[in-house]
Symmetry: C2
Subunit: 325 residues, 2 copies
């Protein structure tokens, strides 16, 4: 569609990112605004509508028009109804029918998927997954998300409202508890939360930790970046946590590669910036543990689009949705 654009929207806990995209993945405008997580959903909707109208005006100035909107939202979604079931980043959005409301205001198709799935769509479109038909996406953040790209398309399974939930695969039934209620999930080993909990447990156990970590734990302000800093400075506890992260990622990916008969994955999300700390243990596990796999065939890539992957994917979701419309 000549002169046509889609709007991609990535709704995170801190920022909303928005962009105007052509059908080939070219980005023609970019906006970022605070998401005001504590505010009412109506206020967020209003801000989105305003920003979309602004991008529609940008499209008009280029003698084009916006034909659809794609939304990426963290959390459990009812994608068929376009409703947020529960979003850890935006607790006030629970139950809000975001997509239909936006559709009503803008009079154009609006599509919605969870953040890990739009990460996959973005990387498959113009990122590292461009030329790989089958791969597993992993997003490392506060939690661990994932997706499966199968034959070049986002796999949605039986459309149960979730798919690609690698973070809640159990890698070790004797492992640490997970926020989801299970024991030994990948997320309990390989998330930002797992890093923080690991340091808290080391403190409780009376281990000697760097002063900066101890202080941050006492004020409840410890971040995954702090744990990375400690590992980078040689703290053995922090290093062990990243090794455990790498081991668990290697085990989960090795299991899925063995079952799916594939050998590629792309890892993104904020905590993937700690790549040098967890990558060696992950590759060591992947090369030595799964016996069916050819160690030389395994291909684990870092996200090519970085923090913008979900934004690109949200736009791709809109374009792909239109094709089926």
């Amino acid at each position: 569609m000549e002169g046509s654009y889609c709007i991609g929207i990535d709704i995170g806990g801190t920022y909303i990112k928005m962009g105007l995209f052509d059908a080939e993945g070219g980005r023609h405008a970019f906006r970022r605004a605070p998401s005001n997580a504590a505010g009412p959903p109506e206020a967020l909707l209003e801000a989105l509508v305003r920003a979309c109208r602004d991008l529609m005006e940008t499209a008009r100035l280029r003698e084009g028009r916006v034909v659809a909107v794609g939304l990426g939202v963290a959390g459990k979604l009812d994608t068929a109804a376009g409703r947020v079931v529960f979003s850890p980043n935006l607790p006030n959005m629970a139950g809000f029918a975001l997509a239909p409301r936006l559709h009503e205001a803008l009079k154009m198709p609006v599509f919605m998927e969870n953040d890990a799935n739009v990460f996959g769509l973005g990387e498959a479109w113009v990122g590292q997954g461009r030329n790989i038909p089958n791969w597993i996406g992993v997003t490392l953040g506060t939690g661990v998300g994932g997706c499966l790209i199968a034959d070049g398309a986002l796999w949605l399974g039986d459309r149960l409202g979730f798919s690609g939930e690698i973070g809640h695969m159990i890698v070790d039934p004797h492992g640490p508890p997970c926020a989801c209620g299970q024991t030994g999930c990948l997320e309990a080993h390989a998330s930002g939360s797992a890093l923080i909990r690991g340091m808290r447990e080391a403190l409780s156990a009376g281990e000697a930790l760097p002063e900066r970590i101890t202080d941050a734990l006492r004020t409840g302000s410890l971040t995954p970046e702090d744990v990375y800093g400690a590992a980078d400075s040689g703290d053995p506890h922090a290093r062990r946590l990243f090794q455990r992260m790498g081991w668990a990622l290697g085990l989960a990916l090795g299991n899925l590669f063995t079952f799916l008969g594939i050998e590629s994955a792309i890892i993104g999300g904020g905590v993937s910036q700690a790549w040098d700390q967890f990558h060696p243990a992950m590759m060591e596990t992947l090369r030595t543990v799964p016996k069916m796999l050819d160690p030389d065939g395994i291909r684990i890539l870092r996200s090519g689009l970085g923090p913008l992957a979900p934004l690109y994917g949200a736009a791709r979701l809109a374009w792909a949705g239109l094709d089926r419309f």
Copy 2:
């Protein structure tokens, strides 16, 4: 194709089963012969050619003709080359280019897949999977095989020479060793071999076992059926082994359901006859462990075609292969 038939061949360690099938899955003839596992591959080939010619004659008597052959073989295969890489049941077949040799003799297309994959094709065609688009197949035998049916078709992944290898997913990294060299595979918990090894370990540990079991262990003749018999008679060691089998199956399926966003599986293979012994623990695990799944949506079915599932699947492989020819 009116009057057209495909031949399905299931090559097991004890028997070769063969059948003449129409395109709708109707079976019009059936042959069974000893596979003579110790014999040379040329002798097996000769027997197959003779039996195929006999089935071709049967087709002619019905005023039809055989248009393709499908082969199901246990083991690691190079399906593109039609070559057996390694077959635990038929060690002499290692390296033998079975499919091209059969093609040469019969002058018609010959397709080959491993036994767990043809199990899936058979159940998807005329068995329990007929109306289920996405499901996991599990074959419980000496080892544990598996397959994935995705959007109604056999998933082959990156065509690495294996797919659906659920038996070599690690369910417990602290679990028992597996013949493959890994630790804690599903196969090390849920196969016929795991049952026998578990009883042997109980004997070594000085546990009191039923006399029949002890005798069979001493002569090396213990079978999974014997372990089932012991569990059925109330032996606590045998019962624990089946509970462990069920737990491990529940964990592996729960992990895959969580990642794939699906909720159906079909279980076959000889050891699945012990259903009443492992099914309760499997369902208990599936209903209580995976938090993303709706316990009421989970559907675990027993093979509808029983020991003939791979035979039907081999014929389906031939029909599907012709479509792509």
